[in-house]
Subunit: 793 residues, 2 copies
């Protein structure tokens, strides 16, 4: 451990120290001003109650530390000409990051009405946490940010995502000691085992131990320093400590720590890039210990505030009502000597600006944080190259994800030079049958490699770690900085990142409303190893609810696709990979599945999102007697098998088969951009005929999407109803009443007058189900009539 | 670091070594047998293809390591008379844990048809991963387990949950090196900062580094040992290493490691309990390095299998078709020398059983793993003691969660001796205004304490760590071992544990079907700081979707309550805390809220789950013209304000107000045990009158629950539609069209003929909304008519 604490470093001249401190004081002043002031921003007159905001919102505690980091990043960016980005983990420090980007001019360039002068400062203060203004967190609205700080845990994985394939970039990442307690953050420290010092940039974590969360001390701040150092070294880092509460000493120590860290980073990169070193070296981490709410009120109403959890939000809460609080606030704000920091017009004086880099080097202006400016079209070959030949529906079998794997492999190859495409997943790329991608790129791995290992590659772009959180965070960071990717995941376990995808969707929704944020590549999920084919892994692996989860979110951002076979999967994936600013959820099978559509037919079907499969139904001109709807590969197969049974047993019945790929098509057009009009909907499903809909997931989702439709009361949905266990594939559908026999019975029960006429057929179906039960309990496999079923008409 | 590797330990006599090895070989044989054999369990005849299961499912890779741990735990339990429990993190090791509990007799006592003899062994083998049989993971069906291993990450937090307040218990916890990469697991290592050596038991983690996941090496297995040791010491542990592939040497090293670890644990506990030590000591962790698939086929089809990822699942996959595989399997199985291990009747011989403890000391028989056997009624005082007085609805204000805090404090006090109640939360107990609980118990904390800290207590039973995952895991472990608790969480961020609650609900659903599992205390969530009052924290903190998430799960397990005021919250919480085998989700406010119901009225209302609030409506005898439904505190207030406006502006309109506390009441009775009959539903909501329903969360959830109702097409739901930002409380409801003015407009628009008659009123409502917009943009606070509104009729 290198100790750079309180010593007389010679890194800074006295002049530099003075100007850095001026910048820091200015940032502190502006952060506090945003929390408190509605008027009198420069304190040109004595502070009065009416200058104070009626609601005091915001987080002071973390701000001075973030201001210190921003100030010192400015110094090193300027001194070294760095291409740098910073991820601000303690996102509640919104006032700090906003203050700094205003000081450097980025803010006013992004939002010209908030000019870098007294008027602008007034607006800057007023808008903070004010209706129609800006949020109290670092957020999409914040120039230079790729990281919303409302929910904690993802700072470091975002930083690594930004650093991958950006060899010239240094990503600083402030990790709060609160956030450091979360699982996702704890796991993401090991990201350094996946960072290629040749092709990737560097991540410089700054662990900010200000000691407290909302109401408690933090675990890491209360470890003895030796124990903390062991932890950080165990994570693969070399700690550099900066501690103290004397600004001058801390400035000197901080400057030295940054110089040491950046020298080490440069050394590691030089070693790997020029000297061919392959040994994993410990990367530097700065451990910054400064008081929470540093430079704020030391004591309020007789209790300590600075350096305690009481400084977390608004240290002086009663300013409008309590004259003593008002006096304390004024003393506090004036302690920064704003008259020395801002000129007569309220513009920052040259000393304050001295440390700042220029142009796109400024943290608030780097295009890295507005990835849409950098994103390029992904090269995707013609799908015909990967398509499976389909002369007649249902006569051949393919594993859809394996077919997709070939396409992904080609994208990997075609981005070998550009390095702007990654596939991430929790140790499941091969299990999900995408292993062809390894022909395009190996798996990133910087730790020890043994002869028995396969596909590990120091320069690989497939990322596999058994942490869905880390996968998600990496990919988000990668996309937000202007690149492309795909996350392949077991369907059930993608719920692990429910909360992360919430936040990413919120980020995209807000970004879309900001004209200066350019659209980024969509976040693409491939959910496979899905509910119907987790018969072997059992109940814990059976959950199709992620679709429900995302369908609650902003319809302008969310797209959900359930391609029923290999070619439709290709079409949907192609569309998703080319798209921008969406979260695309693709649910597809990895098990052998009948090929229903040729590539051309698949393209046309996916473009419509839902359509009648003429060849599968038994209509002849008029309205059908019943509609069999389906969405998802297994439901589609069961519906086709049911259609076949109906054709055989009830040849005069006119049955229509409708397949839905894009489930938002079921919604009203007013509620989702992909929604159908009622006219279109009725054209597919009729307005009054019974519709038996076999859906991949929870059946009520279909009702929730279609409840306004004319035909809704005739809509009868089958799907997964949480009846799972370890069993056979067909038993899964039987247990959930989604099987072909049940669907035939549903049709018989629902078509008026049919129940009597078709009683014998209905009994035959019921008998088949009974036979099934007996068979699997004896043999442990599906009945031959199921296992060997094929589509023949 | 203590190294106990390959040395000639003297802990074991040669005789002990022989019997331990016999037990281990028997367990290995039984684990492999479960994966492969349909018949010929004892290999009394040459192995033929027809003896092999048609589908080979299961996970061999982790099994020999787990068998080793089980064997050696048996030894120390017996030798020391330990009260022990083991959490088997690598849950795919189902065959191993099942094998061991069969050997010790627990399995046959739990499932008498699977007797401890040749017949039983045949059934044991056949049932594994077979329809109607047992899952391939450690699961509720597995005797001695409190931990389903399908989804990874929660082993260690479950283990700590089991250890809290069980001072005599040692909880061993096997952490796989795959699972160790997950976020929740990584965070949970720090649980030792919350473990009280006086009142809590001990957790002994056994980090099993077999080197590989499904298809990749693991991160921790590829760290240099010194780096791994730093990591573990940084986590607060003292590592003890056991490595090797020579069984005899590993047995000796393992025995010594267990003895060393248990001596240290005893030493730490003695220090704290008898000598008053308060310094946190490093707890032992055993690092076990053995080959993946140890003792299985070294090589298959020319590639290495033992010791590689290829041993993860079924090492020999083509046994029924490939005679060479069949031969290899037979060689492998016979390598354990089953004829030495089982007698003529297939019963384990005495040597095999020598290491086993007896009765409830057996890991498969401990009541700790069947917590319902141990759980006691929670002492909850009469609610009248905590109730707020309500003479007239809406004339006083209380913060509901603060009122609940008094009740929780009393439960804390009344369980001071029993120590079987905990409150967990991510640093939000005070923020959620439950701080009264600190009168009953402080916050558990074993790290450094500073004078400025408040409520930290080495013996506290409030658990706060900024990790929702750890909170959830701790509480699950605590409940599953027979105790009680409550998890208080910000509503938006409870999504972080979506996937964990999925698994817990699945556990409870399966457990309910097992007669031998006694009901445990419910998992109770208090979700507060909810969507409508996160106006200050902004969009990232606004998400009411957890209710949707759990409502997809088994209705027999899930209960959701939205109490509209303080007394209803008391009633609901009382019910939840007394209940068994549920997941109860309570969504309640922490902000000042009108008191609507007296304690008696609240009890009656909550018992019904939904009811007409006569005093709020304007009916007089006949059918109403419109129904205003509401669920949740803020929607209830807006509905009452709308009812008041309607009464004032349209005095002849008959409006009914229906409040719903238990939202499952809206479902059909056939679909949820709490569902209403149509008769009941129509009695509340009418069959044909317009219903304007103001709901706390996403509006379509109400449609999904009520779509089968007669009156569904007249049901118009308002709720949160993802229109969030940093603004004022009232603006949140306006943005989402849930405000009183909008609700009045909805009534006017929907009651036939009213639109014309009430055009002026409608315009007045629209004007009020316009006024609101202008006001908040100027003042940043809500209009006085909103801020000062009260219910007066």
């Amino acid at each position: 451990m290198s100790k750079v604490e309180h010593q007389n470093s010679t890194v800074l001249t006295d002049d530099e120290l003075r100007t850095l401190d001026a910048h820091w004081r200015a940032a502190n002043y502006l952060a506090a001003g945003q929390i408190y002031l509605l008027a009198n921003p420069l304190l040109r007159e004595p502070l009065r109650a009416e200058h104070i905001k009626p609601r005091l919102l915001g987080h002071w505690g973390t701000s001075p530390g973030l201001n210190l980091v921003y100030t010192h990043l400015n110094r090193v960016i300027k001194a070294r000409g760095l291409d740098a980005l910073c991820v601000w983990g303690p996102g509640h420090g919104g006032p700090s990051v906003v203050a700094n980007s205003w000081l450097e001019g980025s803010y006013s360039e992004t939002y010209p009405d908030v000019s870098r002068d007294g008027d602008g400062m007034g607006r800057l203060f007023r808008q903070f946490s004010f209706p129609g203004g800006v949020p109290s967190h670092v957020a999409p609205e914040t120039p230079g940010s790729i990281h919303e700080g409302g929910e904690l845990g993802y700072a470091l994985s975002h930083a690594y995502g930004a650093a991958f394939d950006n060899p010239g970039l240094v990503v600083a990442c402030v990790v709060g000691d609160g956030e450091a307690e979360t699982g996702p953050l704890a796991a993401s420290w090991h990201s350094n085992k996946f960072l290629d010092p040749v092709h990737d940039g560097a991540v410089l974590p700054i662990l900010h131990l200000n000691g407290y969360k909302i109401a408690n001390p933090t675990v890491l701040a209360r470890l003895p320093e030796a124990e903390l150092d062991e932890l950080l070294r165990g994570y693969g880092h070399e700690p550099l400590h900066v501690s103290g509460d004397d600004p001058a000493k801390v400035h000197r120590a901080m400057a030295e720590a940054f110089d040491t860290a950046l020298d080490r980073i440069a050394g590691i990169q030089r070693g790997a890039r020029e000297e061919g070193a392959t040994e994993r070296s410990p990367w530097p981490v700065i451990v910054l210990r400064t008081p929470k709410g540093w430079t704020g009120p030391a004591e309020v109403d007789g209790v300590p505030v600075e350096g305690t959890w009481r400084a977390h939000q608004v240290p002086l809460a009663g300013v409008r009502e309590n004259p003593e609080h008002l006096r304390q606030l004024e003393r506090w704000l004036r302690s920064y000597r704003p008259e020395e920091l801002f000129d007569a017009d309220g513009r920052p004086v040259p000393d304050v600006l001295d440390c700042l880099p220029e142009g796109v080097r400024r943290l608030g202006s780097t295009p890295r944080a507005n990835g849409g400016l950098l994103v390029r079209e992904l090269p995707i070959d013609s799908l015909d190259r990967f398509a499976v030949p389909v002369d007649k529906p249902g006569t051949s079998l393919h594993e859809p994800t394996r077919v997709l794997g070939d396409l992904l492999a080609q994208v990997m190859k075609d981005t070998q030079e550009r390095r702007d495409f990654r596939v991430v997943g929790p140790d499941e790329t091969a299990s999900n049958r995408l292993q062809a991608v390894f022909d395009g790129s190996g798996k990133a791995w910087q730790a020890e490699v043994l002869p028995v290992d396969e596909h590990l590659d120091r320069h690989g772009r497939v990322l596999e770690i058994l942490s869905e959180h880390t996968c998600q965070g990496w990919l988000e960071g990668y996309l937000l900085t202007g690149r492309h990717g795909l996350f392949s995941c077991y369907e059930a376990f993608v719920h692990i990142v429910d909360s992360m995808v919430n936040q990413h969707i919120k980020w995209l929704k807000t970004s879309r409303e900001l004209p200066w944020r350019a659209p980024i590549a969509s976040l693409n999920y491939l959910l496979t190893s899905h509910v119907w084919r987790q018969d072997h892994n059992g109940f814990s692996h059976q959950d199709p609810g992620f679709v429900d989860h995302v369908m609650n979110k902003s319809p302008e951002v969310v797209r959900v696709y359930l391609p029923p076979d290999a070619n439709t999967l290709l079409s949907v994936a192609d569309h998703a990979l080319r798209s921008r600013d969406y979260v695309n959820v693709i649910v597809a099978g990895k098990q052998p599945c009948f090929d229903w559509l040729s590539m051309d037919a698949a393209r046309a079907h996916c473009a419509r999102g839902a359509g009648i499969w003429d060849w599968a139904g038994s209509e002849n001109g008029g309205e059908p007697d019943a509609v069999l709807g389906c969405a998802g590969d297994v439901p589609t197969q069961e519906v086709l098998a049911a259609a076949q049974l109906l054709r055989r047993h009830l040849p005069h019945l006119a049955v229509r088969v409708v397949n839905v790929v894009d489930i938002a098509r079921l919604m009203p057009r007013e509620e989702h951009p992909h929604g159908m009009t009622d006219f279109e909907y009725d054209g597919l499903f009729t307005a009054d005929k019974p519709v038996i809909f076999a859906y991949h997931g929870y059946p009520w989702l279909i009702h929730r999407l279609a409840y306004r439709r004319n035909g809704h009361r005739n809509l009868h949905v089958r799907g997964y109803k949480e009846s799972g266990t370890t069993t056979t594939p067909f038993d899964m559908v039987v247990r959930n009443d989604l099987d072909r026999y049940r669907l035939v019975m549903d049709v018989i029960d629902r078509v008026p007058g049919l129940a009597v006429r078709a009683a014998a057929v209905r009994q035959e179906m019921a008998d088949a189900r009974t036979r099934h039960h007996a068979w699997i309990r004896e043999h442990g496999t599906d009945m031959p009539e199921i296992a060997e079923w094929s589509w023949t008409v």
